[in-house]
């Protein structure tokens, strides 16, 4: 809770800093504020026994963990923003503000205990993202991304709301525990609209996390948005989406899994295949990453499909691993694009020779994406497979394996380009922040891969 307050106030402070043209203070203040929020969040570990504010919010360990994760990711992303935003326009403070607003929405999303909170948090985040996607105002791609995201987001919100309304109609409450009680009190003979509500909410959440067939916005929006914003979307936003998704389903709908699970299973499988297969034939690295993001959404859905005791953990580990890897990949992409003006795989050619460090961290990131052992990504996949198998979804895992194999094709293209293809290029210069973020992310990725116990027994 405290971290939510800190982040909200921080956003306002940053906005004022912008007003006073204190440009150089923006980043330090934001980062320090976020660190404070992180500390405050961690301090609430094990303290959130009951929901607070009339059951609006429950800052339990789940919330603490995901808050921390998203805050950390945000810090890493902000550290990359030093020069990035300044190149776009002068309104840097507003960008920080909106990112921080989005983060506030995300903190609400991971800690809600009432559907109204979910709704408000989700919309704070979404509206902020619509804006962030479009901050390159003269850039067609950015415009297009923004408008597409907005139209489709608003459209999907309608379904989410319709679902919430139906749930309310059946259970007469927005409170998660009341809804859960409603479910358990009526072992047979729930109001049929409740089921419809579940499906529609599922659709809405699937849209937010980018699961097929509601994923269409993902590639276009991710590609069109400024890369740093894409990073934010792919990491923090995705994490939050899954946290919210899981929270709702594990608290309220777990007993009804027979009803929604087959549907979600089908969605998972479609998502895996669409994401992976489409990613294969991309020449644009960024677009490849967007499709890969879709496919990773598929893997993350495993935790919800196979809802159980380890689901939270699995999602947490997976999103952490995925976030770190994404941050590395996108960060290097920013650098590469700055130099070559292209986001294609070819622009990575010869990077291994000129910038061994960058090539190494990208390699770590790609291995983590691909789920190779000794990286965090493997632990994530391992957990997902474990939880799916726990529920005896053997075929799902087999399909997931096929997808993991396909994914090697495109993840290794980067590695191949960096190390095995030569190109005339100069050494990339990156500032200290980049090195810090890249190094830290890579090290954490490997450390988590080697000794995952650090985060695997949180819940």
């Amino acid at each position: 809770m405290n971290s939510l307050i800190v982040v909200s106030i921080l956003a306002l402070v940053v906005l004022y800093l912008g007003l006073f043209k204190a440009k150089n203070a923006l980043l330090p203040v934001s980062v320090l504020g976020l660190v404070a929020a992180l500390v405050l969040a961690v301090c609430e570990w094990n303290s959130g026994a009951a929901p607070i504010f009339s059951g609006m919010m429950h800052f339990d360990n789940f919330a603490v963990a995901f808050t921390s994760l998203t805050v950390v990711s945000t810090i890493l992303i902000l550290l990359l923003s030093k020069q990035y935003f300044e190149k776009i326009s002068e309104n840097v403070a507003e960008y920080y503000t909106i990112i921080l607003f989005a983060l506030a929405g995300i903190i609400i999303m991971v800690s809600y205990h009432n559907l109204s909170m979910l709704f408000v948090g989700l919309e704070i985040m979404s509206v902020s993202l619509y804006i962030l996607a479009g901050i390159k105002k003269r850039d067609f791609a950015s415009n297009e991304a923004s408008l597409k995201y907005f139209l489709m987001g608003a459209f999907s919100t309608g379904f989410l709301l319709f679902g919430i309304a139906l749930l309310y109609g059946a259970s007469h409450s927005f409170d998660l525990s009341v809804i859960a009680k409603y479910v358990t009190d009526h072992p047979e003979g729930l109001n049929p609209i409740f089921y419809a509500g579940i499906v529609l909410i599922m659709v809405g959440m699937c849209f937010k996390v980018g699961a097929a067939p509601f994923h269409f916005w993902v590639p276009d929006v991710y590609e069109g948005s400024p890369t740093l914003i894409t990073t934010f979307m792919a990491t923090v936003v995705k994490t939050a989406g899954f946290a919210a998704f899981l929270r709702l389903f594990s608290i309220c709908f777990a007993p009804l899994s027979d009803f929604w699970m087959p549907t979600l299973l089908a969605i998972t499988i479609i998502t895996l295949f669409i994401g992976n297969i489409t990613a294969l034939f991309q020449d644009n690295f960024k677009r490849m990453l967007t499709y890969s993001s879709v496919s990773h959404a598929g893997y993350m859905l495993f935790a919800i499909v196979a809802l159980g005791a380890t689901s939270s953990n699995a999602i947490f580990v997976y999103t952490a691993a995925y976030s770190l890897a994404s941050i590395i990949a996108f960060a290097v992409l920013i650098l590469v694009k700055e130099q070559t003006g292209s986001e294609n795989f070819d622009s990575f050619n010869g990077l291994g020779k000129k910038n061994p460090f960058l090539a190494l961290v990208v390699t770590v990131s790609m291995l983590s994406f691909a789920g190779i052992p000794l990286t965090a990504g493997f632990i994530g996949k391992f957990f997902m497979f474990s939880s799916a198998l726990q529920e005896y979804h053997i075929w799902l895992v087999v399909l997931a394996i096929i997808n993991a194999i396909i994914s090697i094709f495109y993840y290794f293209r980067v590695i191949v380009a960096m190390y095995f293809k030569d190109a005339e290029r100069k050494e990339l210069v990156s500032n200290g922040y980049f090195k810090l973020v890249l190094g830290a992310s890579a090290i954490i990725t490997v450390v988590l891969g080697v000794y995952p116990s650090l985060i695997t027994d949180l819940f």
């Binding site: 059951g55 989005a102 700055e338």
Partner: protein
């Protein structure tokens, strides 16, 4: 009772006109009419305060904004390229299918009767205010974040930028 059906008919009629009218300005006007019928529905449902807010917010603020933008862009003519009939038909079919499944999912499965009796008092300002500022205080407060972020964002995006950007 028949009033409900009349208003319901009008709601449907106007909303259909919204989407099938070619001129955007007309669409907006039909949308206002639709929202007006909704206000009547709220009154019928004894949600007076909501009716008022709906009237003010939607018809007062939102619709004006729409109109304003349309005028700004000089889109009051029927300039929209028509989508092919095929797409329209498919769209209608898809929508119809959605309706059928939605209704099938909710209604056709025999909704059980509403248990609690209607409380005529709940729609009043006093009651709503109590609920809003007790139970729903937090989301209410947080909505400010939503509005603030929208405010900042709208200005950020809609304002003409002096600095040219690229890349």
């Amino acid at each position: 009772m028949s009033l409900f059906y009349l208003v319901a008919f009008l709601s449907i009629l106007f909303s259909l006109l919204v989407i099938f009218t070619k001129n955007p300005v007309h669409s907006v006007l039909y949308l206002i009419a639709t929202f007006f019928t909704f206000t009547i529905h709220y009154i019928l449902l004894n949600a007076q305060f909501l009716a008022v807010v709906n009237f003010i917010v939607y018809m007062g603020a939102i619709m004006v904004l729409f109109l304003f933008v349309l005028m700004l862009m000089n889109l009051n003519k029927d300039t929209e390229p028509v989508k092919s009939n095929l797409i329209k038909i498919i769209g209608v079919i898809a929508g119809g299918a959605l309706l059928v499944t939605l209704v099938g999912a909710s209604k056709a499965l025999q909704t059980s009767a509403v248990s609690a009796g209607p409380n005529s008092e709940i729609g009043l300002v006093e009651n709503l205010g109590k609920v809003l500022f007790n139970e729903f205080l937090l989301p209410f407060e947080l909505s400010s974040l939503l509005l603030l972020s929208a405010l900042v964002g709208a200005i950020l995006l809609a304002r003409k930028d002096k600095k040219t950007q690229n890349g």
